[in-house]
């Protein structure tokens, strides 16, 4: 099923049959302002195939029950489906065991779980190293942790192409660095970090590494064992799956050493007023009734991606990015923001004399959905000296024709304000 992931990068991949794949996504049939929808806001959230929508519907219509507790038939069916999704996640990121896969509400909660639980060992003077390209969700939980613990937040800078300055990153690592948190792929710039190298550098000083994989997982095959990271966080909804479900991968030994995150049902073994004991992994970190339908939907999304092939998806998106980048280079007044050599399918830019919000509204009138704003990465905007950018982000179902429509919309914006 995951044969595409095992294909060597040099092997020729068959081109995606995008016209056929588009049929799998019902929303792509709709119109916006009388125009066919051109959905280029995939870095915010991707659209869902029928199989994901159907998996959730089927659960609610046929075997809705709470998991891990009932002896009745439906509870067992629901438990099996939810736990099968965990196995699919384990396969997807190549973790060594299912106990290392914790379901959360999303990347943000995954990061907060680590900051809250692993963070309890932080002491005044300890250091946490992040990068300048992080999403707010990989900045603020660490700031809060620093406030609680007296730890210091250090920030490795990016260069003007939006690439991490690896030399400065290495210099900022020191004997007090306890934890390093960085994005695998930047949501505002598309930059892909050399995570394997960075993890190795961090491990040399004894720091643990958390990777924010929210953007990367939909575009690159991820192998947590090969990267050798300690934590890997991602969301289902940027991965063609439902909102409200996400994953924290962590090494088993680290999870064993961490106190629980939230208390409640399911995460305990025994509860007594004199003291309670915790459940086995991964349930120790999963208090309360989880997003069962979401988990099952995420499993369906991973099956879908496995069926299409992540390597083929990545090749298709790279081709779209090349095409869009070439059009952008010829578009007068356009300044790309984020020109890293290693980049995922994100084109972030500004147009001279036109605010991104006005561009967003004009594109919307053409049926083109993009993100405009600071992309929850205000420090990145500050680095480039812009209040906001326009961001077009691509997914497996996008086409060159849609990118042409994007640029037609930009021409219109330029005509209105030029």
């Amino acid at each position: 099923m995951l044969s595409a992931l095992n294909t060597s990068p040099t092997a020729r991949l068959p081109a995606l049959d995008v016209a056929r794949l588009r049929q799998d996504f019902p929303i792509l049939q709709r119109a916006v302002h009388g125009q066919p929808l051109v959905y280029l806001d995939n870095a915010a959230t991707s659209q869902k195939p029928w199989s994901v929508i159907e998996a959730e519907r089927h659960y609610y219509a046929h075997y809705n029950a709470n998991i891990h507790r009932g002896v009745h038939q439906m509870s067992q069916e629901a438990t099996e489906a939810y736990e099968a999704a965990r196995d699919r996640v384990r396969d997807f990121i190549h973790a060594s065991s299912r106990e290392e896969i914790i379901f959360t509400r999303g990347t943000t909660e995954s990061i907060n779980l680590v900051a809250s639980s692993y963070g309890q060992r932080m002491q005044a003077g300890d250091e946490i190293l992040i990068t300048e390209m992080e999403h707010h969700s990989n900045i603020v939980p660490w700031q809060l942790l620093c406030l609680r613990s007296g730890a210091l937040l250090r920030v490795a800078p990016i260069d003007d192409a939006g690439q991490l300055n690896v030399a400065r990153f290495a210099e900022l690592l020191g004997p007090r660095t306890r934890l390093v948190a960085l994005s695998h792929m930047s949501n505002a710039l598309g930059s892909i970090n050399p995570v394997k190298q960075l993890v190795e550098l961090a491990h040399q000083v004894g720091a643990v590494v958390l990777l924010d994989g929210a953007q990367a997982v939909a575009h690159l095959p991820v192998n947590v064992m090969d990267i050798d990271c300690d934590f890997y966080a991602f969301s289902g909804h940027k991965l063609y799956g439902p909102t409200g479900i996400g994953v924290l991968y962590a090494r088993r030994a680290i999870l064993d050493s961490m106190p629980p995150y939230q208390g409640g049902g399911d995460m305990i073994r025994e509860v007594r007023f004199a003291g309670s004991s915790w459940n086995d992994l991964p349930y120790k970190f999963e208090a309360g009734t989880p997003n069962i339908a979401g988990g099952i939907g995420l499993g369906a999304a991973l099956d879908y991606i496995g069926g299409v092939g992540l390597a083929a998806i990545a090749a298709h998106e790279s081709e779209l990015l090349r095409y869009a980048t070439a059009l952008a280079a010829d578009f007068s007044g356009l300044t790309p923001i984020g020109t890293a050599a290693d980049k995922g399918a994100i084109l972030s830019f500004t147009l001279a004399g036109i605010h991104p919000h006005d561009i967003g509204t004009i594109l919307d009138s053409c049926g083109v959905a993009v993100r405009t704003g600071h992309h929850c990465a205000m420090p990145v905007m500050e680095h480039f000296g812009v209040p906001a950018t326009v961001r077009a982000s691509f997914a497996l179902y996008n086409t060159r024709h849609e990118i042409d429509t994007l640029f037609q919309g930009l021409t219109k914006a330029r005509e209105m304000f030029g």
């Binding site: 919000h357 209040p387 906001a388």
Partner: protein
Amino acid sequence: MSTDLRDLYQETIVDHARRPRNFGPLPEASHQAEGFNPLCGDRLTLRLKVVGGLIEDARFEGVGCAISTASASLMTEALKGLNEQQAEALFLGFHSMLTGGIPVSGSVLGKLDVLTGVREFPSRIKCATLAWHALHAALHAEKQPVSTE
């Protein structure tokens, strides 16, 4: 181009966005307030010179989209010569025009009427009202002296 879009980006709005009036510092200001829209990063500073309850001058500075810039530009034009009560009434009138409260006749708003098209774009209403919230704040912080740094 769709009719709605033309309603939003009327000639006057594009003109004021590209060449905002009353843009710049106002060293003799008696009132000042910041407007910030965290959603889009638009940020402006509004300064008023109020003498004997009368707004003698109004100027603004900052960065924003066409809608927020044009709205601020048109607002500063409209404010000059009004007393504080009239300015507050204009704020309420403008606000209800955009949020669908009490209907306001065009004559009250005058030139500001060109911003009615924003109503059809709910995601942009905050852009249009940014300067106006700054006005409201500036008028209500009247007892606070403006720092002369």
